[in-house]
Symmetry: C2
Subunit: 119 residues, 2 copies
C-alpha cells in the first residue's frame, strides 16, 4: 500500500488529541516564543547578557571582555536591540548598552538554575 497520509485515520488516542488541541497555544504564538528563546540560544549573546547583568557597558568594553571584534559584538547587539532585550543610550561617540528589564535577568537565571541542578 502507498505510504498512508501520516496518521490521517490512525489517531491512536483521539481523546488525548481532542483535549490537548483545545489547550495548546496558537501556532503563531509558539513561533514567536521559539523566536524569543532563539535570542538566548547563542553563546555570544548569552555572554553579552551575562555581562550586562552586572553593568551597563559600551561596545568596546564588551568586545574587549569577550575577546571578540567590535563588528561581531555590534551585530549581536543589533539582534538584542531588535528583540528588546537591551536598550541603549548614546553619549558622545560611545553607546552604552544595558538590559531592557529585569525579566531578562530572571530568564537567564532560570536557565542557569536548570543547568546547575542537573549536574
Amino acid at each position: 500500500m502507498k505510504e498512508e497520509l501520516e496518521c490521517e485515520q490512525t489517531i491512536i488516542h483521539e481523546d488525548v488529541i481532542k483535549k490537548v488541541s483545545k489547550k495548546i497555544k496558537d501556532e503563531d504564538e509558539l513561533v514567536d516564543l521559539a523566536e524569543f528563546f532563539k535570542i538566548f540560544a547563542d553563546s555570544t549573546r548569552i555572554r553579552i547578557i551575562n555581562a550586562l547583568i552586572h553593568s551597563d557597558m559600551c561596545v568596546c568594553d564588551i568586545a574587549y571582555l569577550l575577546n571578540m571584534t567590535h563588528s561581531a559584538i555590534s551585530h549581536q547587539l543589533k539582534i538584542l536591540k531588535q528583540a528588546k532585550i537591551v536598550k541603549y543610550e548614546k553619549i558622545g561617540k560611545v553607546v552604552y548598552y544595558s538590559l531592557d528589564d529585569d525579566h531578562i535577568e530572571r530568564i537567564f537565571h532560570m536557565g542557569v538554575n536548570h543547568i546547575e541542578e542537573r549536574k
Copy 2:
C-alpha cells in the same frame, strides 16, 4: 595606521571591565546555557513541549496534532530526549513521551509571560 588590535589599549572603562570580569560566569557554563536555550529555540520543539504540558503523548498523536511527519517528530523527540527535556515509556509498540520535570514547564511559561507582557 594598521587596524588596531581591537581595543587592546583602548579599554574605555577599565574599572567596569575589572568588576564585570570577576562576576561573569565561566565561558563553558555560558556555552552550556546557550545550548540549553537552543532546545526551546525551535518552533517544532516548542510545540511538542506545549503539547506535553497538557498530556503524555505518543509519537503518532504528536505528529497528528502538529500536522507533521512521524519522522520529523521522532527526530525532534530524540533531541528533547538527549537534552533531558522529555522522558519516555514504551508500552508495546507505542512510546509515550512526557516532560521530564516541571522546571521545563516553568521555563516555558516564563517565556510566554515575557511575550505576552510586551504586547
